[in-house]
Amino acid sequence: MADIDWVLLGRYAAGECTDDERAAVDRWLAASPARQATLGAIDRVAAQADRTASVVDHAARFAKLRSRLEAETPSRSVAWSRRWQPAMKIAAGVLLVLGTSLAGYMAFQRPSPSGDVAQPIVHTISTARGQRMSLRLGDGTLVLLAPASTLRFTASYTSDRTVQLDGEAVFTVTHDERRPFRVRTRAFVARDLGTRFVVRAYADDSVANVVVAEGAVAVARDAAVDSVVLSPGDGARLTTAAGVTLAHGLSLDSYFGWTEGRLVFRRTPLADAIQQIERWHDVEIRLASPALAARSFSATFEHGESAAEMLQVIGAVLKLDVTQTGRRSYLLHAQ
């Protein structure tokens, strides 16, 4: 049998080995954790290709850096800024530069149904379950898109900056009085008043949330209706049954933790937690009894635990047994 090298491991990770090769790699992997780490690295690089695929406008990012460069060499700065003006105009015109986002790439590949060039081009960026993505819109707004979410936006922000979201995302918006930034979901419209905030509005959830970390956000059922203004630590929760409820002094970590790789649950009903874990890890989790759905727990996951590891912890807290029923499916039942 040939040596186990990156060529063979690469084919193994792509599912392209012969049975003999696969058996050899499996034996090789079983011998040490260090070897398994090589495969872990492949998985991780594959996973973070989307997570870190930035739809970044390099020109905009560099423009910010440029002022710091200039500060370092004051004597030349006048000459530079003159030389830079045409380039900056172009940069303003190029509102969005596509990075190498694979998920984005796939989405962009789909031809638009109309093919009409005169219409503003609507970009659609979607994450699959288990993926996240960070992207910067043409106006500088930073968006962190959670798994199983879709963001629609146009590449021109002449007077209005409105994006459409199905799913969950954190927005860091540079406020502009003349061009309000709006997030439209099925349940409500959120308008920034200078801000970092998270919106969770999955089409298949009965609840939609807006929570503010910095600045202020105005939330309304639709643009025509009076809005409620939220401050840092405030959240608005919209349900089809109960309408809008407001909460103050929320634990921001449980809403924003995921942007730093943490999943935080605070007195979260099991049903909600399961839905989140399913989206984050692309697994199926079932409950043996519907009565378990309402039981709540608190836990923080910081280190990229697998779904199985999370379920073990949750199981220990709620006294549940976890059974793996398939490669990516689990069953929780009372002990």
């Binding site: 792509a14 780490a37 870190t52 930035s54």
Partner: protein, 195 residues
């Protein structure tokens, strides 16, 4: 504007750096456009935060600019960028670990699962180094090869599926994959030796 990935023409970074050293901001921006994203992903492999990675990358370019303007050597700028990125990432991790220890002392411990033994800090770092090295090697592949490798690893997509998505022939996909893996074998240390 091109995306941040160069097909890595070897002479490019250093000529661009030389122009930047002479005060050419546009040349410096080209350097930024080529390396900002690969460096972000490289650092992300260590720190797990895209925002932190972006901040560190900005700092690294600022530092490079200052060095170039001071007339320090512009040779092998790519190696310089990745070496600096690695140092910054590791020192960020150390810093964060110290903070976490400090925090732990103030907060009551959450009960850990008894059989769960946390890997040592050294082992964790070795794993991150491996991820970062692989990330860098993948980012330095020619664009098509990189796309093919990632699509295969991510989705286990077939040659035909990838061919359709990228608008190239199925045989070309297989060839890109073959070459990409050979390139990875040539650049990376043999697998399994975490050091």
């Amino acid at each position: 504007m091109t995306s941040g990935m160069a097909d890595d023409a070897p002479e490019l970074p250093d000529t661009v750096a030389a122009a930047a050293a002479a005060g050419d901001v546009q040349a410096f921006e080209r350097l930024f456009a080529i390396y900002a994203d690969p460096l972000c992903r490289f650092i992300y492999s260590y720190v797990d935060s895209w925002e932190t990675a972006e901040e560190l990358v900005d700092d690294i370019f600022l530092q490079l600019w200052i060095r170039l303007r001071r007339g320090e050597s512009a040779r092998d700028v790519k190696a310089y960028l990745f070496t600096t990125a690695r140092n910054r990432a590791i020192s960020h991790l150390r810093h964060r670990r110290v903070e976490a220890r400090h925090r732990d002392r103030q907060l009551p411990h959450e009960p850990a699962a008894p059989e769960h033994v946390a890997p040592s800090a050294d082992q964790q770092l070795a794993e991150r180094e491996l991820i970062a090295a692989l990330q860098r090697a993948v980012d330095m592949l020619p664009r098509r090869q990189r796309e093919v490798v990632l699509l295969k690893w991510q989705r286990r997509a077939s040659n035909d599926e990838i061919a359709q998505a990228l608008g190239i022939a199925s045989a070309t996909v297989a060839e890109h994959f073959r070459r990409a893996l050979q390139q990875l074998r040539a650049t990376l240390p043999a697998p399994g030796d975490l050091s």
